[in-house]
């Protein structure tokens, strides 16, 4: 009975402590508030909690709870909970959904607060800020940005007597090296060409001046010759040069696992992946990272996704949420994230900490790539056509139909989807 009573007293005491705390701080609002912050990556949860700790030290009257939901169910849950008005106050946003949430009224425009707080948005990577600007209004504070590089197996390169890749590499160098490195008897492929937009043709299409979607987001670019050329780079690796595992193989086995087990010698990698490579002893010992090979004419542009933090349009505490958002976009928060080596902060000039986080890899490669970043292809309802595009391109990857034909029918499908969107 006594124990029960003391248990009942705890919340009372806590409340009392909280009251005294807020009266001392004398912030903008004396009210004690708890915000919910939704994210999807468990690997980044520790960094997020550290940021919250620092934030709480400055704003004792605002508590923040992190809510981690795996990517697979994050968006379903977020949409349902925001619709019901019970969703998180602040959450991670990707470029893929930014317009959907902004136009649909799921996230709040931040311009008034930005002006009032005199927040300088020019410190962030411009491609990211641009992607979260919808109809001239900013809907998210850029969090991070993706760079890409060429991951290669040093051991396999040395064994085949092939020169390690460097900044001078273009497409033809990749093909030539892949041909020398492929050894069917040993089950080793020189290259891996998965059918994963973000990690495959989104990196090569801009290198030949093609586009996935027109800059105004109204037309598909898949019927352009340059776009088709950028996609063909990948299918040729499988169907013409036979230097990559087939689509069936890359579906059955994760291409990153193929790299870290010595089954493929080269793979295009994202800046969030070195952590996963280092987790495998063979990967940590044998994988090197070189700059992403340039297009035939030396072009290096690529489509980069990058996250932002957004405020729910239905939050009950817009003031406090904005304070937290400002902190998430601060130099301090950028530094904390960078040190973990998981992401490159969108806050420019703070990539050094990321680059030094894992001395076994040349992470600087990813940072140097950032200046070529283009906003990720997106429209109001990206998910309607993006999944369908991947589904249809399987025909080209398996060599059942020429890339050009598939790409043109993809463009038709995408244009139909785009014409139905609410602008």
């Amino acid at each position: 009975m006594k124990r029960l009573l003391s248990l009942l007293l705890v919340p009372l005491l806590l409340a009392a402590a909280a009251c005294s705390g807020s009266s001392e701080s004398g912030g903008d609002s004396d009210e004690q508030v708890t915000l919910t912050y939704a994210i999807w990556d468990q690997a980044q949860a520790a960094a997020m909690k550290q940021i919250i700790q620092e934030f709480h030290a400055q704003h004792p009257n605002i508590d923040v709870q992190v809510q981690v939901t795996p990517w697979e169910s994050y968006w379903t849950k977020l949409q349902t909970s925001v619709t019901a008005g019970s969703g998180p106050d602040v959450f991670w946003m990707t470029m893929v959904y930014a317009q959907y949430y902004a136009i649909g009224g799921g996230i709040a425009a931040l311009d008034d607060q930005v002006k009032k707080s005199k927040l300088d948005t020019s410190v962030y990577v411009p491609a990211v800020t641009k992607a979260y600007t919808v109809d001239g209004k900013l809907y998210g504070i850029p969090k991070d940005v993706n760079g890409f590089g060429l991951c290669y197996n040093k051991k396999l390169f040395d064994a085949a007597g092939v020169k390690h890749p460097d900044a001078s590499w273009k497409w033809t160098d990749v093909i030539a090296a892949a041909q020398k490195l492929t050894n069917k008897q040993k089950g080793v492929y020189g290259f891996v060409a998965p059918e994963a937009d973000e990690l495959s043709w989104y990196l090569t299409v801009p290198q030949v001046g093609g586009q996935v979607i027109s800059p105004d987001g109204k037309r598909s670019g898949y019927d352009q010759d340059a776009t088709i050329q950028g996609i063909q780079f990948w299918t040729d690796m499988i169907t013409k040069y036979h230097v990559s595992p087939t689509l069936q193989q890359t579906t059955d086995t994760d291409p990153l696992a193929m790299l870290t087990s010595g089954k493929v010698a080269m793979r295009y990698c994202g800046s969030w992946e070195p952590e996963e490579i280092a987790a495998v002893p063979y990967g940590k010992a044998n994988i090197g990272i070189a700059p992403l090979p340039a297009g035939p004419t030396g072009k290096r542009e690529y489509y980069s996704n990058g996250l932002a933090d957004s405020i729910s349009a239905k939050t009950k505490h817009p003031e406090q949420a904005w304070q937290f958002l400002q902190f998430l976009g601060s130099e301090k928060a950028a530094e904390i994230q960078a040190k973990t080596g998981t992401v490159i902060p969108a806050y420019q000039g703070h990539a050094d900490a990321y680059a030094k986080a894992m001395p076994e890899f040349d992470l600087q490669v990813f940072v140097d790539h950032l200046k070529y970043a283009q906003p990720f292809p997106a429209s109001t309802d990206t998910s309607v056509w993006r999944d369908e595009v991947t589904k249809q391109f399987a025909e080209a990857w398996t060599g059942k139909a020429p890339v050009g034909d598939v790409s043109k029918s993809v463009a038709e499908m995408m244009n139909t989807a785009l014409s139905k969107e609410k602008k």
């Binding site: 799921g106 689509l247 059955d252 086995t253 589904k391």
Partner: protein, 324 residues
């Protein structure tokens, strides 16, 4: 596949048969005749379950039918759109694929019915050893998490490093990429479906077989029938009520196949077009592509298909099911 745990066997299969054999109809205690208050009590006791059913099953069904005539906004709000969703549905080639895929999966999964009848018959053989062990082994898939089942089978089916292809290579067969080859994926998925439903069916058949009086077998033996003849002429005819029940449940569950496709094939696989079922398409359109109204229309289509197939089975049962 999904929802097996919630299905219940009809009382005549599980209890009627038992008493028939153990006590014999003559010694069965007569139930007390219902009195006036017992109706009250029955109503009171049924209320919680009925309320749950109404709130979580029946009301949503009607809501779904209503939503299938609407189009949805991103964050709340829907507008009446008449037959628009159904017009799209008829023209959508993915829906056609999904119907064909669902039919194939259902047809293959039905193989589990005779298979589990045989398993149950073998386990009921007099003098069979290790029955409990076998029964547990066959039943394990039913109580295992679908996600764990899917993941394990995914490894087994892996084209390059899977155990199945390794075994096949030992006898000189170059196995396909089971799950990512559009030609084989649907069969791989269905095999797992069959494997997963044998346990549940078996339990129902086991109790059904127990309900068959031993006299019939003795009489058959006197007439010179061997084990095989006994199985076909005594066990199978007297098991038809259980077979009917299991078939109805299997069809309904297979029509709702989703988890294995979602977990073992997935949107990124080149085999998805040849494996996606109606429920998978419902999920994709409703949750990945945010088209709730259209997804509801797919749901209604599935509801109608289920109703027709189940009604047809009840119609046809008169021709082959023997009660008693």
């Amino acid at each position: 596949m999904s929802g097996q745990g919630t299905a219940t066997a009809p009382p005549d299969v599980l209890t009627g048969g038992e008493t028939g054999r153990r006590a014999g109809p003559a010694r069965r205690r007569r139930p007390r005749p219902p009195t006036r208050d017992s109706g009250w009590w029955a109503l009171m006791l049924l209320l919680p379950a009925a309320a749950g059913l109404a709130v979580f099953e029946i009301w949503p069904t009607f809501q779904t039918i209503y939503y299938s005539f609407t189009s949805w906004g991103a964050f709340g709000g829907h507008a009446w759109s008449g037959l628009e969703n159904y017009r799209t549905l008829i023209a959508d080639s993915d829906v056609f694929h999904a119907i064909v895929n669902t039919a194939i999966i259902t047809a293959i999964t039905l193989l589990a019915v005779p298979l589990s009848a045989v398993v149950a018959a073998l386990l009921s053989l007099p003098g069979m050893r290790g029955v409990t062990i076998y029964r547990t082994l066959y039943f394990l898939p039913v109580v295992t998490l679908p996600a764990a089942v899917a993941l394990t089978w995914k490894w087994l089916f892996n084209g390059d490093y899977g155990l199945i292809n390794w075994l096949l290579s030992k006898i000189g067969i170059d196995g396909p990429h089971w799950l990512s080859d559009p030609a084989t994926a649907i069969f791989a998925i269905s095999i797992v479906g069959v494997w997963g439903s044998i346990g549940y069916n078996m339990v129902i058949f086991l109790s059904g077989i127990r309900g068959i009086p031993v006299d019939y077998y003795e009489a058959a033996e006197l007439d010179g029938a061997g084990r095989l003849a006994q199985f076909f002429h005594v066990t199978v005819p007297l098991l038809t009520p259980s077979i009917f029940f299991v078939t109805v449940i299997t069809v309904i569950n297979s029509l709702q196949a989703f988890d294995l496709i979602y977990l073992m094939v997935g949107q990124q696989s080149p085999a998805i077009e040849r494996t996606e079922t109606l429920v998978y398409l419902f999920y994709q359109r409703g949750f990945a592509e945010h088209d709730g109204g259209y997804a509801a229309a797919i749901g209604v289509l599935l509801l109608i298909a289920t109703l027709i197939l189940t009604a047809a089975q009840f119609r046809l049962q008169k021709r082959w099911v023997h009660y008693g």
